[in-house]
């Protein structure tokens, strides 16, 4: 089971500060959506609205056709994993007991799978949750997020504190379990380069607004690099959106956003320019760089 989401002109205001500014988007059911944005872009605010932790100040939000706010059906089927290190300091229950109890709150919770994950993440079942290290606390939360198999599963920078091998296990489990039990997953991150392959679709936000949305492939195909002699590159990129450029002697390399038509591709080839692909990481870094540069 998995839920589709539709947001129409959703806004969230903190006093004078507009954290989310009239955003509209649709998230397809059963896909892994990468939510990308820089620090303070509004990722967590947006996710807390999606998970019904707070109400939007304006606009409408529907999840599986209903308004999620104070909606018992949708809320029970939504799990929001975010940084709860502080709360977990006061969790004196043991890991094993906590996982057992989850079944009371989450209808799809699979305890056997949770215990498999405990082994993979090497968590001690008999240790109290507050005594776990930072990375292990995050792994504990990731286990709850995965094993709950909620139709809407949200991981908000859930990898914080995990070391690289642990993150790798986490990513692998997302893909494996998603294949067998499809749900709608939203995964927010700024570690784009190591997680980009997980995403079916990408939603990039910047300063509280949607910067772009599309399938991973669509988004990536909008960007490309061009390398060649300085004059040729400059002539070719006139009128195009250049995100970044580097010059080395007489050679120039630029990153361009906005796709390339077949004719342009042929023209670039004839001009002796080398065309390359950009990664989601390149696009993220250069599309969201702001006034500071």
């Amino acid at each position: 089971m998995s839920y589709a989401i539709e947001a129409k002109e959703v806004s969230v205001q903190y006093k004078d500060f507009t954290a989310i500014d009239q955003v509209s988007f649709q998230l397809k059911a059963g896909k892994i959506h990468g939510l990308l944005g820089r620090n303070g872009a509004g990722k967590t605010t947006l996710l807390s609205v999606l998970s019904a932790f707070r109400k939007a100040d304006n606009g409408t939000l529907t999840i599986d056709g209903e308004n999620p706010f104070e909606n018992p059906r949708i809320m029970q089927d939504t799990i929001f994993i975010f940084d709860q290190q502080k709360d977990l300091e006061y969790t004196y229950d043991k890991v094993g007991e906590m996982l057992k109890e989850m079944a009371y709150f989450r209808p799809n919770f699979d305890e056997a799978y949770a215990l498999q994950l405990v082994k993979k993440f090497k968590l001690p079942l008999n240790k109290k949750v507050n005594q776990l290290s930072k990375g292990k606390k995050s792994a504990f939360q990731a286990i709850i997020g995965l094993a709950s198999r909620a139709p809407l599963t949200i991981f908000d920078e859930a990898y914080l504190g995990m070391d690289a091998p642990t993150r790798e296990i986490f990513y692998k489990e997302i893909l494996n379990d998603q294949e067998e039990h499809p749900r709608t997953i939203i995964f927010s991150t700024h570690l784009v380069s190591e997680a980009d392959y997980l995403f079916d679709e990408v939603l990039m936000i910047h300063n509280g607004k949607v910067l772009l949305q599309g399938t991973n492939e669509q988004v990536i195909s909008e960007g490309f690099s061009l390398t060649g002699s300085l004059e040729q590159v400059d002539a070719f990129t006139e009128g195009l959106e250049v995100l970044n450029s580097q010059v080395l002697g007489g050679t120039k390399s630029v990153m361009v956003y906005g796709g390339l038509s077949e004719q342009q591709r042929i023209a670039a080839d004839q001009a002796g320019l080398e065309i390359g692909n950009l990664s989601l990481h390149d696009l993220f870094v250069h599309l969201t760089k702001g006034e500071e540069e």
Binding site: K172, L175, N176, E179, S193, D196, Y197, L198, F199, D200, T215, N216, E217, S225, E274, I275, G276, N277, S279, L280, H281
Partner: protein, 125 residues
């Protein structure tokens, strides 16, 4: 993005070529099960849609075939088909560039043949 891919060629084509290579090299034999899309995603760290695009092409060309609920398999005659295709591409991919470069350097045909013989013996020219 994984470093094992070149940036000047669409990645789905490179994925597809890597699977083809495995078939041509006998690492994947006819009738054997090919890696699943999910395995390929995890191995190459490349997005699902991209992998599927490469795999779908191989299915369309009859190199791989799908068994419902079981997975993907290498078709009978797949290797032969691929070798045939690669032979046709050999001219474009290797010979034309070689001849052009040789002309620039004024290397004669006989010299080219000698060089090829040396390379086959494993000597460095």
């Amino acid at each position: 993005m994984s470093t094992q891919f070149r940036s000047d060629k669409p990645i789905f084509i490179q994925v597809r070529e890597q699977i083809e290579d495995q078939i041509v090299n006998n690492q994947l034999r006819e009738g054997e099960q090919a890696p699943s899309t999910n395995q390929l995603v995890q191995f190459y760290k490349i997005n699902h849609a991209t992998i599927s695009k490469g795999v779908t092409q191989l299915v369309d060309e009859g190199i791989l075939y799908k068994k419902r609920g079981v997975g993907m398999f290498v078709a009978e005659g797949a290797k032969q088909k691929l070798v045939q295709k690669r032979k046709q591409a050999f001219m474009d991919d290797y010979i034309i560039g070689l001849v052009q470069e040789a002309e620039k350097l004024r290397i004669t045909e006989n010299e080219i043949i000698d060089l090829i013989k040396k390379a086959r013996k494993g000597d460095k020219a």
